[in-house]
């Protein structure tokens, strides 16, 4: 973890209520996909934890949805403004377990961290498949970027307005994969847990106090005892999750 002052290179809307922000500066503390940053915003007491969508050459990209006053404020920030950011938080995804052909499954604003993961897995020579789940066509983002990385991209929409009609689990049927990585809403996690074969990793979201393991604000129970989503997570292994608790 590092406390960095980062400059906003761009901050633009890419889908309804969804924004992409590129930050420039010392982002060297990010060493794994699936990690997050914690942003201090003027006028707000607590920081905003946002997952890293990409991190390369001193540039860090986040994609976030405006869900409250903090993210609304974030969406109004302009190019050139600076932010106080804690960089490189959380355990991130472990790519060493992926096998030859991992499957990435993202739902809505859970998709961004999978982009960085996809790049990393491909650079490690893996044959990656990706399922991107949205509610409807207008909400789709990052599809083109994923298609530039791998030909095996499957889009689902709940209303059928684009790609496969239904949920990410409908796209999983018939796919073969050695391991899976996922990020998205809790109902999607439960559905994936019912559908998926083999092992995988889930990236969780929780309201946080600090973001770096000090306050115990985001604790959860796991098979191996209590874990902090911010420090011991946000990525948990399928086998350690107490499914009856979530």
């Amino acid at each position: 973890m590092k406390d960095s002052i980062l400059k906003i290179e761009c901050n633009q809307k890419i889908a309804p209520d969804v924004y992409k922000m590129v930050l420039v500066g010392d982002v060297s503390a990010v060493d794994k996909p699936g990690q997050f940053i914690d942003i201090k915003l003027d006028g707000f007491y607590l920081r905003r934890p946002i997952s890293v969508c990409d991190c390369e050459d001193g540039k860090l990209t986040v994609i976030y949805k405006t869900v409250g006053e903090g993210t609304e404020k974030m969406s109004t920030l302009s190019q050139g403004e600076t932010l106080d950011v804690l960089v490189g938080l959380g355990n991130g995804y472990d790519t060493s377990k992926s096998g030859e052909s991992p499957l990435l499954i993202g739902g809505g604003v859970g998709i961004p961290p999978l982009y960085f993961l996809c790049k990393r897995l491909i650079s490690e020579g893996k044959k990656v498949s990706v399922i991107l789940g949205f509610n409807k066509k207008e909400e789709i983002f990052l599809e083109d970027e994923f298609r530039k990385l791998t030909p095996r991209v499957y889009v689902t929409t709940a209303d059928g307005s684009e790609g496969i009609r239904g949920f990410v689990t409908d796209a999983m049927k018939g796919l073969e994969y050695t391991y899976f990585y996922t990020c998205g809403p809790m109902p999607m996690f439960r559905a994936i847990n019912r559908t998926a074969t083999g092992s995988g990793q889930f990236s969780f979201e929780e309201r946080m106090g600090c973001g770096f393991g000090a306050c115990m604000g985001c604790s959860c129970k796991t098979v191996g005892g209590y874990k902090r989503i911010c420090k011991d997570g946000p990525v948990l292994q399928r086998e350690e999750i107490l499914w009856e608790e979530i």
């Binding site: 973890m1 607590l46 929780e206 000090a214 306050c215 604000g217 209590y226």
Partner: protein, 313 residues
């Protein structure tokens, strides 16, 4: 040139708490600093006056369901609920790790659900040489049947204090709740029961409601409100308690700057604790300590000991 060495000397930022000297009065508050080692990855925590470790109970506790955190204007609400691994695990795993990163006397924060549990936890920890003080938390707003229920009744507060007093020779500092009508009554009861110091304030009971779900943000509905927003309330109570007791007072509540430290010491605090600020800025205590001499010079304060309680009378 006849330089006046006395006037050129850097301001004295040392403090004293119950007979133990502190390099400075800044103590991270319990529950915001774990057992120290997360922060030692960021800076050498030996620059601190001391720190109060995570509230420890007899048995292991998971605490409350999530969400446990809500934000407010200039503050936050938490309902962690004394999550901790229990005193045996603290002795076996946490204190050895703490000792590797922190070499000064540490404050052991303890809590319980009965008078016996407080005494038991204190007794189990008492042999640890590095523990300089016990901070007895009778003011946690986030647990039922314990915690704050001891801190809102003078006779219950006195019972806990004297039970802990009997099992340790180390200074016993009782941490009080602001959620009472007259805090001086509780402070006096603790002093009479043998407390060596009083620390205050714990968090104020508060809540927030989510307009979208129309339900409380926090799963436990209510929680402890802390941060700069509560500072005037905390400061007022430190001022009142300083007047009411003869034992030292540790002040806390919304401290985030060296200026805040001076303000609390002027109200009567011998040392201060910094809580929520650590969660927003992990370097908060380091920054406060480093800026203390400069801010003292600005207000022409040569030594912190000269300002403790100076706002009175």
């Amino acid at each position: 040139m006849g330089r006046d060495l006395k006037n050129d000397r850097a301001p004295d930022i040392s403090a004293e708490l119950c007979g133990i000297r502190l390099d400075n009065p800044v103590i991270p508050a319990s529950g915001t600093f774990g057992f120290g080692y997360e922060f030692s990855e960021l800076y050498d925590i030996n620059i601190l006056g001391s720190f109060s470790f995570k509230g420890t109970t007899k048995e292991k506790r998971f605490g409350n369901p999530t969400p446990r955190i809500a934000e407010c204007a200039e503050g936050m609400i938490n309902a962690v609920g004394l999550q901790n691994p229990g005193v045996e695990d603290v002795l076996l795993h946490e204190i050895p790790k703490l000792k590797e990163v922190f070499k000064k006397p540490v404050m052991a924060n303890i809590s319980g659900f009965s008078v016996d549990e407080y005494a038991y936890t204190c007794q189990r920890l008492d042999a640890e040489e590095q523990i300089g003080w016990f901070e007895v938390n009778i003011s946690c707003p986030n647990v039922h049947g314990g915690g704050m229920s001891f801190g809102t009744d003078p006779s219950a507060a006195a019972k806990v204090t004297s039970a802990v007093r009997k099992v340790t020779g180390k200074p016993v500092i009782v941490k009080l709740s602001p959620n009472v009508t007259d805090i001086t009554e509780i402070a006096k009861a603790c002093e009479a029961a043998g407390a060596d110091g009083i620390s205050l304030v714990n968090t104020l009971l508060g809540m927030r409601i989510d307009l979208k779900t129309k339900k409380p943000v926090i799963a436990n509905r209510m929680g402890g409100f802390s941060g700069p927003a509560i500072k005037p309330v905390a400061l007022r109570m430190v001022y009142q308690v300083y007047d009411a007791v003869k034992i030292p007072v540790v002040g806390m509540g919304g401290i985030r700057s060296a200026e805040d430290v001076l303000e609390f010491m002027m109200a009567g605090a011998s040392a201060v604790e910094v809580g929520a600020a650590n969660l927003v800025d992990p370097y908060a205590c380091k920054k406060i300590i480093e800026s203390l001499p400069g801010v003292m010079e600005k207000y022409n304060i040569k030594s912190l000991s000269e300002i403790v309680g100076i706002a009175h009378g």
